[in-house]
Symmetry: C2
Subunit: 122 residues, 2 copies
């Protein structure tokens, strides 16, 4: 079963972390055909860190996990930190395929999203 | 003439700021029919701050400016800082309409973008 693990930075502001959890819930409702399991995890400053999120996916029966960085810029978190944490976690789950998706800012749809957000205001 | 001002947080990592400037350039090429002027500005940690970006738009002939927060979460930057800076800048430009768009995370298209980014990897 395929799992989608949404990874946000994490914030001292609890409301911000809850917003990400809610987004993961909405995501689950919208992609259940492709991903039977959806969880959220955080790089830091939150209870559920990346290894915890991966464990939740595996416990739920995932055989393949797509780690999706909910980040706009390709800073050091995206380029180094997230791949490095996934790399360290991988050996704990032999037989489970764990892939890291490109960060959101790299999406072809970002241009449409920006223009649509601007237009909704003007 | 309508202007679009993309506002990112700003980073000590110069490459991250340049990525935002490049995104604004791409945006300019993609929305020139609706927005004759497109600039990028930063909340902090960069040369072009929000008031500088607004000034650039006005200098280029903007009569209406859409300030678009390139942020995923509705943290204090989105809820307080950006609107407050825009509010302080507004009196300097009477007759110019300056509106703040919702942050990207609030877009209806975010769900599609997330699923499409995940699918591109799996």
């Amino acid at each position: 079963m395929k799992a989608l693990l949404l990874i946000a930075h994490g914030s001292r502001r609890q409301q911000s972390n809850e917003e990400v959890m809610l987004l993961a819930d909405r995501l689950k409702q919208n992609c259940s055909e492709q991903y039977g399991i959806v969880h959220a995890g955080f790089l830091e400053l939150a209870d559920t860190l990346i290894p915890d999120g991966i464990k939740q996916c595996v416990d739920d029966g995932a055989t393949e996990i797509i780690v999706l960085p909910y980040f706009l810029n390709s800073g050091t978190h995206v380029v180094n930190d997230i791949p490095s944490i996934v790399e360290q976690t991988r050996p704990h789950y032999p037989g489970i395929e764990i892939k890291v998706a490109k960060h959101l800012g790299a999406s072809d749809l970002m241009m449409d999203l920006l223009i649509s957000s601007a237009n909704a205001t003007s």
